[in-house]
Amino acid sequence: MARQDRMTSPERMADLLGGRPIDRVPLFLFAKGFSAVNVGYPVASVVNDPEKSFRAQVWTQEMYGHDEEPRLSYAIYGGWEFGGEVKFPTGEFAQAPSISRYPVQSEADVEKLKLPDVKTAGILPLMMEFCRLQEKAGRPIVPSFESPFTTAGNICGVSTLCRWMLKRPELVHRLLRLATDHVLEMMRYWVETFGAERLRPNEGAPTESNNMISAKHFAEFAFPYVKELHGKLLAMGVKHIASHICGEQNANLPYWAQVPMGDPGIVSFGHEVDLATAVKYFGDTCVIAGNIQPAVIQTGTPEQVYQLCGQALAKAKYAPRGFILMPGCELSPLTPPHNVYMMKKAVTDFGWYEAVPSDV
């Protein structure tokens, strides 16, 4: 008979972050659109309908026995908040929202750009409503945003951002300044509303990947702002920041390792970053999470998923501050449930920390 969990999910996560022993490796599913579809809701509801979003994620968490707190978030953060327009996913293959009009279209727009009102801008009222549901349920509260660099790309478009990095760096710095100050304002509002203790802020950082920019440009543009942002969030009393370092970021890791994440932080990686490398850079200060390729979870066989998870567990299970098994990026809503189950099966087969008599 399969071994049973000895801890509830909240106990497991509290003890992991508190540095105490836990029963098994936690499992995060990074499953937003997937959760909506899983309970029969439209994919878009996970971002534009707080109640449905919360319910879908809680039910999916219960069904799969995973440990990730629900959240209302998107990778295009900044596009709507700074005054652009977004489109929620509709089609059969859609997974996430997209930006239909960027707030900044020209150099002159950068000058005119102002910090948005964090009580009314873009997705923030929906996120606040969602976080109140978390509060009511007595759960940790998860405000979500993107790194300053990714937010800047979402404000003016990534191609424009890239061109300005070389031709008009001062415009990029202004966007990064505004993006950083905006997230700080937003987080201040969250701290005032819920208190810093209960917050588990969650950040995504895809656009600074080395699929896009060099480590030199990461150091010049992305690094100083994300470092400042995290430092100030921790100074507000936030204890743990979860940062998803998305895509190919190997050359950026020496910089990321200098970004304060909390004690411990949680850093998650795509399949492009080897878990042994992640442990080397972050193992002493952060819980490591990752890095099962979402493409394999969607299109591979159950055996492939199970095997990849087994390998990941073998590599990172004993990371000094802990390990969380997780996909390398958001799961596609079209992922077959039996492949998701393979992730759960892998942690229940290989994820235990404590010996029980039958093991010996």
Binding site: I76, A94, V158, C162, R163, M165, S214, S332
Partner: protein, 222 residues
């Protein structure tokens, strides 16, 4: 008429201007080429386009990243805008080829698709760029409207990639002679074949070569 030596100097200058993303030099040398009687066609092919091909290789080797490539393409276009109107119909050995290009519905990742577009334009193709999050039926409609040789589909997510077989069916149903090429990080040659695509390219540098090979394999308009 420029001497052979001066011609080579201008062509080399054009290549270097693109690689060094020097828009001003690309424009200046393009004007010099015209003023000094260098064939506009040669200036594009052996100058600007050759430079852009080198940029594609540097990108594949991680010597250049997206910002550098985009600025190189700006230098390329600065030269093309000047030279293209002067290419005579008889210069090119064949009719200008056309590609309809876009990122499929539900997917907004456009950087890779834009790099592919640049490489096709550098190689002299006429590109009909449909942008991102393109409605599935739009690809077949645009191919039929333009009678393009190739339709190029890009997808960066495994979810949106699943739309590709349907798009390919729609294109083939409407224009059986049109060739379809697919690309994007989650694709592979095997997946491309399963989906019924005629070609696949791993990166922007390989895309044009693969397009030409694909057309000659299929014995269509190429």
């Amino acid at each position: 008429m420029a001497s052979a030596e001066r011609t080579q100097e201008i062509l080399k200058g054009l290549r270097e201007a693109v690689v060094a993303y020097d828009e001003e030099a690309a424009a200046r040398l393009s004007k010099a080429a015209l003023a000094e009687g260098v064939s506009a066609y040669d200036a594009v092919r052996q100058g600007l386009a050759a430079g852009m091909e080198k940029v594609g290789e540097m990108f594949a080797k991680h010597e250049y990243f997206v910002p550098e490539v985009l600025l190189c393409s700006d230098a390329l276009y600065a030269g093309l805008d000047i030279l293209r109107p002067h290419i005579r119909a008889g210069d090119a050995s064949e009719v200008r080829k056309q590609i309809v290009l876009g990122t499929v519905e539900g997917d907004v990742h456009d950087i890779g698709k834009n790099l592919v577009k640049i490489m096709f334009e550098a190689a002299g193709w006429l590109v009909h760029d449909l942008g991102t999050d393109v409605k599935l039926e739009k690809f077949a409609e645009e191919q039929a409207r333009t009678n393009a040789d190739i339709v190029g589909l890009s997808a960066l997510m495994t979810s949106t990639m699943l739309a590709m077989p349907r798009v390919i069916q729609m294109i083939k149903a409407r224009s059986p002679g049109a060739a379809v090429m697919v690309g994007g990080a989650p694709l592979s040659p095997e997946i491309a074949r399963q989906y019924g695509a005629d070609g696949y390219a791993r990166n922007a540098g390989e895309a044009v070569r693969e397009a030409v090979n694909m057309l000659s394999r299929l014995g269509t308009k190429g």
